[in-house]
């Protein structure tokens, strides 16, 4: 039960890339936050959902060989820090790309994919990954 509810809790943010924008300073946060770290109490109750374009650039990337069990079938996979056009940086995989094409600064866009499989016959979880533009 506990595990399933943990899966569903963040689902809409992971499926639709929904950020929180501070109503006070207008800064965008992804992953979403309920309190703006710049405005503190001024932001309480003013964080608004904002759908992101899913477009961004590679800040840095790595090819992961030593993978946790939920990712064993994907290895080696590309993990990247992606700076979204709206400002926030997030951690996500880059898929369907030739490793040699990867480079800091390359444009990427979000796609909807299977993320991980927790154990044999376990829960399969979905969310965003990125592809090269």
């Amino acid at each position: 039960m506990g595990k399933l509810s943990a899966v569903w809790r963040e689902t809409s943010h992971r499926y639709r890339l929904v950020a929180h924008q501070c109503g006070n300073c207008k800064k965008m946060y992804f992953p979403p936050r309920d309190i703006c770290p710049d405005c503190h109490r001024e932001s309480i109750g003013k964080m608004m959902e904002k759908e992101l374009s899913g477009k961004g650039k590679i800040e840095s990337f790595t090819i992961v060989h030593d993978a946790p069990s939920a990712f064993a079938r994907q290895r080696p996979y590309v993990l990247a820090l992606i700076r979204l056009d709206e400002g926030p940086v997030l951690t996500a995989q880059i898929v369907d790309s030739d490793f040699s094409e990867l480079e800091a600064g390359r444009k990427v866009r979000a796609v909807f994919r299977k993320i991980r499989e927790d154990g044999k016959g376990g829960i399969i979880q979905y969310g965003y990954k990125f592809v090269l533009e």
């Binding site: 963040e10 992953p31 770290p37 800040e59 840095s60 990337f61 790595t62 090819i63 992961v64 060989h65 030593d66 993978a67 946790p68 069990s69 939920a70 990712f71 064993a72 994907q74 996979y77 993990l79 990247a80 820090l81 926030p88 940086v89 997030l90 951690t91 996500a92 995989q93 800091a104 993320i115 991980r116 979880q125 969310g127």
Partner: protein
């Protein structure tokens, strides 16, 4: 205003670090604790407070309440002293020492024990890697395939690109660690490594390979700390804690101001130097938290020994035992080992050996003042201590 008590480390002990299949969590903790008490020249009844330090016991060993466990099996349960666990991921060790230090500074306690232990090899490699994800932001890093090594690799690639630093410079931290560890009987890896072999080791998360990454380790370390008045009354000798500082940052790497500057280390170091009234040039040796080689380089910068992007200059000037700034005389996290919740206390054990001139073959000449940096995960917490004498 009352003057706060000075704090001294009067006892220090540790177990060997490594894959200690035949040893249990509690055996390791007790062994280190007894060594610390013995070296302090006190009795266990003198201890008024015990902080247990451990990070992954709840997940790997299905054991929480490590404070009570250590007190119990060290035979002091019937003393009924407070014994609780301090947890701050891989910075748990220094966090526990800092709380002990504050307990004494406050005047509440005269004699405090820190017992740190981690037992990681009860699980196999991949399972262990799953638990290592608990050091990161589970929902927004580990969920997507982030591992501690992968996050360090993201920092490393950008660092190498922005400052034009070749991979060899990262690995020189590991080569130095192995060199020093070859002279440390408590170290997990006592073999020296060559740069050529290090460059060719198995990839973990590009550009980091096996030789850039600290191992999974079992191990325990313990300290006895006391007030200046206790020290004088009992006519004991100790190594003084000159300053203790801690700072925090965002949990996830992607939320930070920079991916290759640990602001938590920058701030903790600044405070630690200020409070000790010392400068970087006054440091005789440093134990830095190089869980991944890149963090060794960024530590040199964030601690103020080099400008950003220029750690290579410190490395080139010499970080070996005879160099101008000996780094990780113990063998560091890469070669002495990285029992997550005990590693920060292990750094103190090394500092006490060095400053009291008992480090044997790996003794740093004129080791008077040591700096210790212990970091949680990718830099969410940094704790810096400066220890030693004038």
């Amino acid at each position: 205003m009352l003057l706060s008590e000075d704090v001294y480390i009067i006892g220090a002990g540790e177990t060997k670090f490594g894959e200690l299949w035949e040893r249990s969590l509690r055996e390791l903790a007790v062994e280190a604790g007894l060594r610390a008490i013995e070296s302090a020249g006190i009795y266990s009844k003198d201890v008024q407070l015990l902080y247990g330090s451990n990070s992954l016991g709840g997940t790997i060993n299905s054991q929480n309440d490590i404070g009570s466990l250590i007190a119990d099996f060290s035979g002091i349960a019937s003393n009924h002293i407070p014994a609780i666990r301090i947890e701050a991921s891989s910075a748990s060790g220094a966090a526990a020492v800092r709380e002990a230090y504050l307990g004494i500074r406050s005047g509440e306690y005269d004699c405090v024990m820190v017992g740190a232990v981690e037992k990681m090899t009860d699980l196999y490699g991949t399972e262990m890697l799953d638990h290592m994800g608990t050091m990161l932001d589970r929902e927004w890093e580990a969920f997507f395939g982030g591992t501690p090594a992968a996050m360090a690799a993201l920092s490393a690639r950008k660092y190498m690109l922005d400052f034009n630093v070749p991979k060899e410079k990262l690995l020189s931290m590991s080569v130095n660690d192995h060199n020093n560890a070859s002279m440390n009987p408590d170290a997990q890896y006592r073999n020296k490594i060559t740069m050529e072999a290090a460059m060719e080791s198995t990839m973990v998360a590009e550009p980091l390979n096996m030789m850039d990454c600290s191992p999974m380790s079992d191990g325990a370390a313990a300290l006895v700390l006391c007030s200046g008045s206790f020290l004088r009354k009992r006519k004991l000798e100790g190594v003084k804690i000159l300053s203790s500082a801690i700072s925090q940052d965002f949990l996830a790497l992607h939320s930070r101001r920079s991916i290759y500057t640990m602001d938590s280390t920058v701030l903790a170091a600044r405070t630690a130097f200020e409070r000790a009234g010392l400068k970087q040039k006054d440091i005789s040796f440093a134990e830095v938290h190089d869980s991944y080689s890149i963090y060794g380089l960024t530590a040199l910068e964030d601690l103020g020994f080099a400008e950003k992007g220029k750690a290579r200059e410190v490395i080139d000037a010499g970080i070996g035992l005879g160099g101008p700034l000996p780094i990780n005389p113990s063998g560091g996290l890469k070669a002495k080992g990285n029992p997550i919740g005990a590693v920060g206390v292990g750094q103190f054990v090394e500092a006490v050996s060095q400053i009291s001139g008992k480090a044997g073959q790996r003794q740093v000449k004129d080791a008077r003042v040591g700096l210790l940096q212990n970091v949680a995960g990718t830099g969410s917490t940094s704790i810096v201590h400066i220890v030693g004498g004038a």
